[in-house]
């Protein structure tokens, strides 16, 4: 890897990292605002304009609280738990293409952290690792409620990962690749996967809620039954890390959904904008600005998904645990399998007919 490429790559990684943290930080503010608005209140509005400094105040409070470790807890695992949750949450965004290529020094460098041809698998692997953070933290607390919360989280994540993987398979059948940039490129020109995979998208969305432990699937931290679930014994910034990891997960899964189903950085009329910009500003600057607009579009899509996550949280009550398992195993998995069948039939029968019709 050459030096310029390395510099641009690290810049991209740092910007993505910073933006992820910033968005996760302001997600806490947005969550409280959305909750308040839905409940006819006005939410935090004292710290700065519209409560804009509220996340800073919250973080400051978290930092200055006593860093407490229970006497009978496994000290190292207790500390490692939130760390793993945070690391896995941050690692996922590495393979998401946040934009088209960026031309620097005559070289086109893709705007994503790691170029790999197995992006989808990577995301799944890291998301599956994420449950270790919760599991270890809950076990190390040496508390029945924490352990129950951790067990719930583990079984819930495993159950919904099956349906999630099956819903993705339909996408993979259509695109024929595991590479995320390739999947995004195939959605160019309004060919968004949502139009071909509405059922798959709904299954994926439900599973994303379950994977990020959000309402209506937030049973791991179910206050009414388990005090605080896996983070009952946590306080200070260790608790902050768990909560923060949840918001990062929300952002990443939002970006992932936008990438897989809503065309990633593609938007209607982007070719026209591209030609306008390149003729006006020259091939390099125009291309770069067009790429940045695409990035902004992807972020807008992701933010809309984050809003949807919050909207759902303040609408739906929590599922009962048997309902959760019932929905996962007896409804979503058969539906996902059915979706694969339909997609296969469509590719085999409908596509040749349609292409013949169009030719």
């Amino acid at each position: 890897m050459e030096l310029t490429e390395l510099i641009v790559k690290s810049a991209v990684i740092l910007v993505v990292f910073g933006l992820t943290l910033l968005i996760a930080m302001y997600s806490t503010w947005a969550e409280r605002k959305v909750a308040a608005f839905i409940q006819d209140r006005s939410g935090p509005n004292r710290a700065g304009w519209g409560g804009m400094f509220q996340p800073l105040a919250d973080a400051g409070k978290m930092f200055f609280k006593e860093d407490f470790i229970p006497a009978k807890a496994n000290k190292w695992l207790f500390i490692i738990g939130p760390g793993i949750a945070m690391i896995t949450a941050l690692m996922t965004s590495a393979v998401i293409p946040f934009g088209n290529t960026f031309i620097w020094d005559g070289k086109a460098i893709p705007m994503l952290g790691v170029e790999t041809n197995i992006g989808v698998l990577y995301v799944f692997g890291i998301v599956a690792l994420g449950v270790y953070g919760i599991m270890i933290g809950g076990w190390a607390s040496n508390n029945k409620f924490s352990l129950l919360g951790a067990i719930r989280a583990a079984s819930q994540n495993i159950s919904y990962e099956v349906a999630m993987g099956l819903s993705i398979i339909a996408i993979l059948m259509m695109s024929g690749t595991l590479s995320l940039p390739e999947i995004v490129k195939q959605q160019h020109g309004g060919n968004w996967n949502i139009f071909y995979q509405p059922l798959g998208f709904i299954i994926f969305l439900v599973c994303a809620f379950a994977e990020t432990n959000r309402t209506p699937f937030d049973l791991p931290e179910c206050e009414t039954e388990l005090v605080g679930g896996y983070h009952t014994e946590y306080g200070s910034m260790k608790l902050g890390f768990y909560l923060f990891a949840e918001y990062i997960n929300i952002f990443v899964s939002s970006a992932f959904m936008a990438t897989l189903y809503f065309g990633g950085y593609n938007y209607p009329g982007m070719d026209w904008v591209y030609t306008q910009l390149t003729t006006a500003l020259g091939p390099t600057a125009g291309h770069n600005i067009a790429s940045l607009i695409g990035t902004a579009v992807l972020f807008i899509k992701a933010l809309m998904f984050i809003f949807f996550f919050m909207w759902v949280r303040w609408t739906l009550p929590r599922f009962r645990y048997d309902q959760l398992m019932d929905l996962g195993w007896t409804k979503l998995i058969p539906l996902a399998l059915f979706n694969i069948l339909i997609t296969g039939a469509g590719i085999l029968l409908l596509k040749p007919w349609l292409t013949a019709l169009l030719d």
Partner: protein, 197 residues
């Protein structure tokens, strides 16, 4: 017995497949919350905006003086007896010669203390007072405490300031009832406030 027409027959039928996916019900719920998202907020931004409390609100206490500025309280202790929270305590003193312009009766409260953490603002002291000396103001709160020594209010906090007197439309129950009746009959629309019971 049927009281309203809102009663619904309970149905325990098993859900159909589409119902058990919950999606239509979820969409309905989301529509409701989105409607509330854009509704006018009911919050009153408290320190900047204060809501109207009404003439019968029971706020902070005041020990009234009469028209000549003499304290009305005679330290009979009925308010302390009436107080369910035992928030009131006092020390009585006999009026000396030359203090007639300060105290209305021959006995007065040298010390009069209300513990504002104990007080439940029930207004029974006001009801019990035979001299119409203690009232709960309808227009002022007890402010938030910053220190522990701000909790017990002595006479310097309670006795009325003659330059900034507490004014009310009615000072007794009978008076208030009469005003209400006249207002209901349409004979008067407003009553001038006055400071003297």
């Amino acid at each position: 017995m049927q009281l309203t027409n809102r009663a619904k027959q309970v149905s325990n039928k098993t859900m159909t497949f589409s119902e058990s996916l919950y999606l239509p019900a979820i969409a309905k719920g989301l529509a409701i919350t989105l409607k509330h998202f854009f509704k006018k907020k009911v919050t009153i931004q408290y320190p900047e905006v204060k809501r109207y409390l009404g003439p019968v609100f029971r706020g902070r206490h005041v020990l009234k003086r009469d028209e000549q500025g003499r304290e009305r309280c005679t330290a009979c202790g009925l308010c302390a007896v009436a107080c369910p929270a035992e928030a009131i305590s006092m020390v009585a003193e006999e009026r000396k010669k030359g203090e007639e312009h300060l105290y209305r009766e021959e006995k007065y409260a040298a010390v009069y203390e209300i513990n504002m953490l104990r007080c439940i603002f029930c207004g029974l002291c006001e009801e019990a007072c035979p001299k119409q000396a203690i009232y709960l103001r309808h227009d002022q709160f007890v402010p938030v405490f910053q220190e522990r020594d701000q909790v017990i209010w002595g006479k310097e906090m309670l006795v009325e300031d003659m330059n900034n007197r507490y004014e009310r439309e009615a000072w007794t129950k009978e008076e208030a009832h009469q005003i209400d009746r006249l207002k209901a009959e349409g004979k008067i629309t407003s009553v001038p406030t006055r400071a003297i019971p």
